[in-house]
């Protein structure tokens, strides 16, 4: 972890990974969606609408996975003051928010024909919507302060507090009666999904992970450059002042 704390080294590694992540993302997503839309069979109950799952389930995983990563990075930033950790968390938030929104939209589009409603306020749907709002709040907090170090600390604390929502999302379907079905893939007894439907789902999941790594490499680099430009200008302005 301390090895990655050096921004220059972190940059070099991320730049080396980026084309690979981008390539893997493209291949897996084209293969996964191609398989899911063209070749995989319909479900015995949901018929063709099961294809929405290929987007909905991996998006939900990503929304939660990215938040978990942000919470860990925020803790590292708060405790050890690693600037890269703070910027990685900041750069992750838009991706997490986008995946969570995709999950909510695709879920509504599945819920209308299958359940008979776009939305219900059950524990799973509500906790997922709260996750989306936490992402928005996190991003807004970064913008709310002029001083990036204070903004970073406030946002990191919010990210840690919001992490309590993650186990609530995951176990909401077990703890309370919900309209949402229980877990199908990550269960104690193993997946309850037929392999013909599971494989495209897992391909998309891998593709989304790679997409996220690609995006993170891109956005962290942009954040570091922005910070360097600000420091350069600050240094130039204070040097230029008559002492």
């Amino acid at each position: 972890m301390h090895y990655l704390a050096n921004p220059a080294r972190f940059q070099r590694i991320m730049t080396a990974i980026r084309p690979w992540a981008g390539g893997i993302a493209l291949v897996c997503l084209i293969a996964g969606f191609g398989w899911g839309l063209l070749f995989s069979p319909p479900d015995y109950q949901q018929s063709e609408t099961v294809r929405i799952m290929y987007l909905h389930v991996p998006s939900a995983w990503m929304g939660m996975f990215i938040y978990a990563g942000m919470a860990v990075a925020s803790a590292v930033a708060l405790i050890w003051r690693h600037p890269v950790a703070e910027l990685a968390a900041k750069a992750s938030a838009p991706a997490g928010a986008a995946f969570t929104l995709v999950c909510l939209i695709t879920g509504a589009l599945w819920g209308q024909p299958m359940w008979g409603t776009w939305w219900v306020w059950d524990a799973r749907l509500t906790s997922m919507l709260i996750l989306f709002f936490i992402y928005l709040g996190y991003m807004a907090l970064w913008e709310a302060f002029d001083d990036p170090s204070r903004a970073g600390r406030a946002a990191a604390i919010l990210a840690l507090v919001g992490a309590v929502n993650l186990p609530i999302i995951k176990f909401s379907v077990d703890w309370w009666n919900t309209l949402h079905q229980p877990a199908s893939v990550l269960t104690m007894e193993g997946p309850k999904i037929h392999p013909d439907i599971l494989w495209p789902l897992l391909l998309v999941a891998v593709g989304f992970k790679a997409y996220y790594i690609w995006l993170l490499a891109l956005r962290v680099r942009a954040e570091i450059l922005e910070r360097q430009a600000r420091m350069l200008r600050f240094a130039a302005a204070s040097d230029g002042q008559p002492g």
Binding site: L38, F39, S40, I52, L55, L109, R221, L225, A236
Partner: protein, 63 residues
Amino acid sequence: MYWTSFADFAAMGGYAGFIWPAFAAGLILLGGLALSSRHKLALAERDIAEARREAGRELGRDT
């Protein structure tokens, strides 16, 4: 191939009105984020180059 014709594929067993908007939403949001992130990086690269030039000028004026 699961489908017998393109029309069959497009109709999605009668659920086209739900399935295609779902995929469109995913493509727009995630594709849009990818494009806007690339744009953000391009702006940052240009900005740092400019800041370095400015800093160089400052240095030149001081000496």
